[in-house]
Subunit: 524 residues, 2 copies
């Protein structure tokens, strides 16, 4: 007799949820229960104000441990879907209407709260200088190339552990793919990508990030950079002759900001604090889109707080704006499961972006875009006009790696290795640089450390963090000054990528950073 | 004692050319001699009007067979660099000034001869319909998908022999690459592509197509489609707020035309005859660029005649316009060496495009763009903003295939196989469809056949070739009607791709095409 068939009523009555733990896949009861409850909240079976059953009661009802239920409730709370109060139990929160908009957003609506951007009849100015040898993605190297070339230890954020690429597994998968692929698989494909990869990814993204997307909702793109380019093009076409505004995190990825600007959007900085983007700043931004990194903000490492998630989606619904979710490193969370993607709560408001750049290598140039349904057709037209579609073979190899479980295995190993590196760097920093404050949650492939704005008492003209980064560079270590990713003045800091070096090298890097910082912090 | 050291004077004196047959690489004396003479014409050592030595004299001088010299002269004549007249010998033709323009072309100059295009302040309209499941490249499938799905024999042009992809060689090369590549090879690269591949390609393109380009002149792109997109973007930025005109061949690739239009250029059709593009039509086109397929025009199969090549470059120099050379299938010439690329004669006027789509598979999405030096920086900025750069591994694998000679070996085999298929289809067409006229030279992966405009005597309302293609489709064979690639009315015809089927299947296809055409041609 399973949980559903039992006659005994659960606290708030959950039979209608058809919860059957036996149906939970092997990946775990907690994720299964959280997914089922989230789906019920989103489709209205659990209405606003409804009380969830007491954790003990539901656990008994389902025949699972109470910890499973507690953790599932916590996940929904992190997502801003429910709230728990002592005495009042856990209740479903009222939700902003996140259905599909009946009309495309109008610029007058989207902008009325802020100053209208100046109309721009000319295409965006294009630099004729060679582009920087760097990535556009969060955390990617943005320093001038000579700096990097000089550095013995490269702690630039954004580049994963390239030496950890599973070459043997990749080659095995490619051999299998070449043995199975039909000739038609090798020809001109559809611009949305390999159907097999999209099927595998739909399952992967549902399991790992809670995404609500089928294979036909996914567009395979050449990395997050191309995804941003396509979205910017489509937004630009919606407001011809203007330069629509896009809110960006400040501090935030310098490269992503430059990318939006190249494609004709005007980046508008919105501050970030320890709870992520200060969503209230969007109201006066006049933005038609907001780009953010909710699961692990770059570079501060904060997680978008539950209420902020709710407010963000409320803003998007009210203004008709698009939320662009750059989920660049969610595979690396060390203390608990990462908060599910925003897209899981609001597929009509969110365009989700992810890639293999942090889990495998950036050189694959392989990512995915999951847009709201209304944007799919123009995005496919843009992808087709860009390059007809992504290369076939790497798509098939990735599908094979997902299907065989090799990708999951690789990420487990990489996560354990990266956690060890993070711990080593943290320990060494606390020894060699006790003045610095480490920001953010235990996640990702980089750390942000900040310094008090006036650490040198009585000194009002301390050089900026770019100067500190330069001094560190002279000691053979490449790092990013926080100011590289800031649009407005803020506290000085350093962004340190730890992915590429074993613990011993990270300790040595921390020693050199500490020495340089001590001189920089010392009263002049 | 080598040729140069000999005291005996050659007809016009060639010692200054430093011709040393011993320096000729193994690929053949003819190519070596043609290259050396071409270089001398282009750099001015052989001035306009200068007589080349008599073929017999130069052959004796160099110690090579006379056939080598005759063939080398013929190549230069095909390129429009020299002309041979009975009695007058072979003389260097005056050349349009094809040095780098001192000023960027001005729209007023470029357009003064034609009606000015209407200014367009809005971005080009973007279709919100899903893009066709097809390629943008010459000869690629453009028919509605249902037609293709129904066809038992697919003779749509543009797709190579997908089953001939050298899977084992590719996997071997990838294994070698994965064993050698450094971690840095797998990270974010430079937007112009792998230095190793660019070095290998520079040599390959010089050997096979006569290109004058070093590794640093090449940009690796995601196929010719992306190359066109990047060029169109840069041209659009040069004339902000307008819709610059681009001359295209008529008939010509439907997909390439659509691609230019998507990116904001206005395609202007210029007629094609048996000598290629009617270059005189450019003068009144108002075009700032001309896109053409000089080595093997799509779909007519003609080769751009020597005088036309000269006139084209003269037009480009006088108007400041850019020539875009789509060298899509030059590897497949069956009767003789293909005419060298236009770029070899005028690197400052020509942007050269090629890819692996016809030699390997379209699914690689791997090509190259060799632009004039002045366009390199903005093109790199556009490539960076599009996708940061091409995927790393396939670039390294292609470099390995070139370096080991595997690519050359594969193309030799494919060329022999394709020639056999072409011959089989030609023979079967002459048996089953004697009314049709086969157009073009012995090259490529497709045939164009045309019918007299009024084959049915006394009938003035014969259905168009789209109707014929539909009847053929009903018999289980997919072909393209010529009208699919025409902008202006022309004779009815069919474009038949023979790459994907062995001779027996091609004979069967010809039988069915002949039966359908007989009914279509018969008096109603």
């Amino acid at each position: 007799m399973n949980a559903v068939a039992r006659a005994r009523p659960a606290g708030a009555g959950t039979d209608f949820l058809q919860l059957t733990p036996a149906a939970a896949p092997s990946r775990g009861l907690t994720a299964w229960l959280a997914d089922a409850l989230r789906a019920a909240v989103i489709d209205g079976r659990l209405a606003a104000g409804a009380a969830l059953p007491a954790t003990r009661a539901l656990a008994g009802d389902l025949g699972v441990s109470r910890g499973v239920v507690v953790e599932a409730y916590q996940r929904l709370s992190d997502e801003g879907l429910v709230s728990a109060h002592h005495g009042a139990g856990t209740r479903v929160l009222p939700r902003p209407d996140t259905g599909p908009p009946s009309l495309p957003p109008q610029p007058s609506t989207a902008r009325q709260a802020g100053a209208a951007p100046p109309p721009a009849t000319a295409p965006p100015p294009v630099s004729t200088a060679p582009p920087p040898v760097s990535s556009l993605l969060p955390g990617a190297a943005q320093l001038p190339q000579p700096w990097r070339a000089l550095a013995e230890l490269d702690l630039s954020p954004g580049v994963p552990d390239l030496s950890g690429f599973p070459r043997a597994a990749w080659l095995r998968a490619e051999r299998a793919v070449l043995a199975q692929a039909s000739p038609a698989d090798l020809g001109y494909g559809h611009p949305d990508g390999s159907p097999w990869l999209r099927r595998e990814l739909a399952g992967w993204l549902a399991r790992t990030r809670g995404l609500r997307a089928g294979a036909d909702d996914i567009i395979i793109v050449a990395g997050v950079a191309q995804g941003l380019a396509l979205l910017a093009q489509v937004l630009g076409h919606q407001w011809p002759g203007t330069r629509p505004r896009a809110a960006v995190e400040d501090p935030g990825s310098r490269g992503a900001r430059d990318q939006l600007a190249y494609w004709g959007l005007e980046p508008v900085p919105v501050p970030v604090d320890e709870h992520g983007l200060e969503v209230s700043g969007l109201d006066s931004s006049g933005a038609v889109a907001a780009l953010l990194t909710p699961a692990h903000q770059f570079p501060t490492g904060s997680v978008l707080a539950p209420q902020r998630r709710r407010d963000l989606l409320g803003w998007a619904t009210a203004s008709g704006a698009l939320v662009i979710e750059d989920d660049y490193d969610a595979e690396y969370r060390y203390d608990r499961a990462p908060v599910p993607a925003l897209q899981a709560s609001a597929p009509h408001q969110v365009a989700y972006l992810g890639s293999t750049s942090k889990t495998l290598i950036p050189g694959l140039r392989l990512g995915w875009l999951v847009p709201p349904a209304r944007l799919r057709a123009p995005l496919l037209a843009a992808k087709h006009a860009a390059d007809l579609g992504n290369p076939a073979l790497p798509q098939l190899v990735l599908a094979q790696l997902i299907q065989t479980g090799e990708l999951a295995r690789h990420i487990r190993l990489a996560r354990a290795r990266q956690r060890e590196r993070r711990d080593a760097l943290l320990a060494a920093l606390s020894e060699h640089l006790p003045q610095a404050r480490v920001q953010g949650v235990a996640a990702g492939l980089h750390l942000l450390i900040t310094f008090p704005d006036q650490a040198r008492s009585g000194q009002s003209r301390r050089p900026g963090d770019a100067d500190l980064a330069h001094q560190i560079q002279l000691a053979g270590v490449a790092v990013h000054p926080l100011s590289l990713h800031q649009l407005s003045p803020g506290p000085p800091g350093l962004v340190l990528g730890y992915a590429a070096h074993p613990p011993g090298q990270l300790r040595e890097a921390a020693r050199r950073i500490g020495a340089a910082a001590a001189a920089w912090l010392a009263p002049g």
